[in-house]
């Protein structure tokens, strides 16, 4: 079959087979049991690039394009502005077609940019050391929980009940997979002395800022580890985990220059205290010198990783999300000191403007009184699912229906991407929906 991705001609194949001493390519498969060869594979007939582009465009178009809608949905995946410079840099094929940088001398681009990413994460979070990234926020949290158990030699993990429910599930899968235990606790619960860690999300799943000192104290009282799941954009304004005493800090890095893309690829940000360096999963890039004394970068402390430590490794992680870490690094460098603060403030003020306006509507109220950042929960006069149906017709994607957690509860998110017009429109439509789905 001819394909632009198969550069050898039949003449090439014949020449090589001659060198090999085989009369046909089938001879090279002689070790495969006879009856298992030449199986029929039922797949669609191949299409040309032109035809396939049409098919894929069609598939993409049968999704609602949020670019044409106002979106107030967050809950772990966020619409933030992505400076165009990010895509152009990660689109350079020297970056995206490279392998994991084992041969450091020809991978300085990847390595140095990861060193930058690690540094930027530390500056952002106030933590002492960051790795090169994990799969996503949820698995970063899960691996942090396991790491805490290994460091403390305890086998129980506590998670606050205001942590994202999906994250709690993933933490459960990983922790219980190792035959360790995980328990969800409420804000007033005490932390027993045989727990390895407490995991708190800041801001929490409902958008609120937790009374973080209280939880850090509970953890210190029993010599456990404090794990914080943070929102990277919130750190443009709010106290970072390194400041309030996190031992391990993890996050979903998607808000840092990575598109929504139906849930992936994303990025697990993972940072911790220097003391725990040898327990940290994932890759680490370090600075060194070459034989001529020139600065250079290598993957380092590789004896933590699976290809050396094998069954003694803390994690099996190998391939992670390096290109997304590059995107996050470029984003942080592009927005920089002023820009991240600006993004955070825009989110904050727009979200508060929206919350205030909605809370004034008859039948709607703000559920929590805690300070919040860009997400907040409202209680609605009718089922959020009904409200969202109406909103969709008005080309608005409403917040997450969390009525199974809070009566008629909806989790709304407002970012720098939402305009005043969009917010006013949302408020207008909500105002018209007052109980029993009636419009006024």
């Amino acid at each position: 079959m001819l394909s632009p991705y198969l550069p050898n001609t039949d003449a090439d194949r014949r020449a090589m087979l001659r060198e090999i001493g085989a009369t046909s390519v089938d001879e090279l498969f002689q070790d495969v049991p006879e009856k298992c060869r030449h199986t029929q594979f039922s797949l669609p007939a191949p299409l040309s690039e032109l035809e396939l582009r049409e098919e894929l465009r069609h598939l993409a178009e049968s999704n609602t394009n949020l670019e044409d809608y106002a979106c107030f949905l967050g809950a772990g995946s966020y619409r933030h502005f992505i400076p165009s410079v990010v895509d152009h840099i990660i689109g350079r094929s020297e970056f995206y077609t490279a392998y994991t940088p084992y041969q450091a001398e020809v991978s300085q681009g990847t390595l140095q940019s990861i060193y930058e990413y690690q540094s930027l994460v530390c500056q952002l979070t106030g933590m002492e050391v960051s790795n090169a990234g994990m799969y996503d926020g949820s698995t970063a949290a899960a691996e942090a929980a396991v790491m805490a158990c290994i460091i403390s030699k305890r086998d129980k993990v506590a998670v606050l009940n205001t942590v994202n429910p999906i994250y709690r599930e993933v933490i459960g899968t990983y922790v219980e997979g190792r035959d360790l235990a995980v328990e969800t606790i409420g804000p007033d619960a005490s932390l027993p002395a045989d727990y390895a860690c407490l995991i708190v999300q800041q801001p929490n799943f409902f958008g609120c800022l937790e009374k973080i000192e209280m939880y850090v104290q509970k953890v210190r009282d029993v010599g456990a580890l404090f794990i914080s799941i943070f929102d990277p954009i919130s750190l443009g304004m709010f106290r970072p985990p390194g400041d309030y005493g996190a031992d391990i800090a993890v996050a979903e890095g998607q808000p840092l220059g990575i598109p929504l893309c139906f849930g992936g690829p994303y990025l697990g940000v993972f940072a911790c205290r220097k003391d725990y360096l040898r327990y940290m999963p994932g890759r680490l890039v370090g600075k060194t010198v070459d034989v001529e004394g020139a600065p250079g970068y290598v993957m380092t402390m590789v004896t933590r990783e699976q290809y050396i430590r094998r069954e003694k490794a803390i994690s099996n992680i190998c391939t992670s999300e390096a290109l997304m870490a590059l995107a996050a690094g470029v984003y942080l460098a592009a927005v920089g000191k002023r820009g991240l603060r600006r993004v955070a403030e825009l989110c904050y003020h727009k979200a508060h403007y929206a919350a205030r306006a909605i809370s004034k509507l008859k039948g709607y109220s703000l559920v929590f009184e805690r300070p919040f950042f860009k997400e907040f929960v409202i209680s609605c006069p009718l089922a959020p699912s009904k409200i969202n149906e109406v909103l969709l017709q008005e080309r608005i994607v409403g917040g997450l229906d969390i009525s199974h957690m809070i009566d008629n509860g909806m989790l709304l998110c407002v970012t720098e991407v939402n305009t005043k017009e969009e917010i006013d429109r949302l408020v207008e439509i909500l105002a018209s929906l007052q109980g029993e789905g009636t419009h006024e």
Binding site: R278, V302, T303, I308, R309, K312
Partner: protein, 133 residues
């Protein structure tokens, strides 16, 4: 090559008896050459009880990690802080300044089970021959 007065284990640790029932222990030249550049020593804290042939620490090189097994039973009384700060001393002088721990021995007769310098030399030679086949 290997100090005559030291005793050796099959896992390439050595122990050197000192007056007063203590002994210094470390890794042999063979071990350090197999490991390559040593970068980190994970040694037991003074006061730790150890058993002969059981793991008491880990030695990390750039490309490998190996268990450090105790050549004798007893209590750790001192670790070589200089080597902890500069792990390359273990590569440079594994029998001298690159020693790892000092133990107070609980059963000195255990040392009879270890190899003499000559026996260890022969043992290492046999390993090298195996490797080249």
């Amino acid at each position: 090559m290997n100090p005559k007065e030291y005793k050796y284990t099959r896992e390439h640790e050595w122990i050197c008896l000192e007056p007063g029932n203590t002994g210094k222990a470390g890794l042999t030249k063979y071990a350090e050459s197999q490991l390559g550049d040593i970068v980190f020593l994970d040694l037991p804290a003074p006061g730790t009880q150890v058993q002969q042939f059981e793991k008491m620490g880990e030695i990390e090189s750039v490309k490998a990690v190996t268990d450090f097994l105790s050549p004798a039973s007893g209590k750790v009384v001192e670790i070589n802080a200089k080597a902890v700060d500069e792990p390359k001393l273990v590569n440079e002088d594994p029998y001298g300044v690159g020693w790892l721990v000092r133990l107070e021995l609980s059963k000195p007769s255990e040392l009879d089970a270890l190899m003499s310098s000559d026996a260890y030399d022969k043992y290492v030679e046999s390993l090298s021959q195996e490797g080249s086949e």
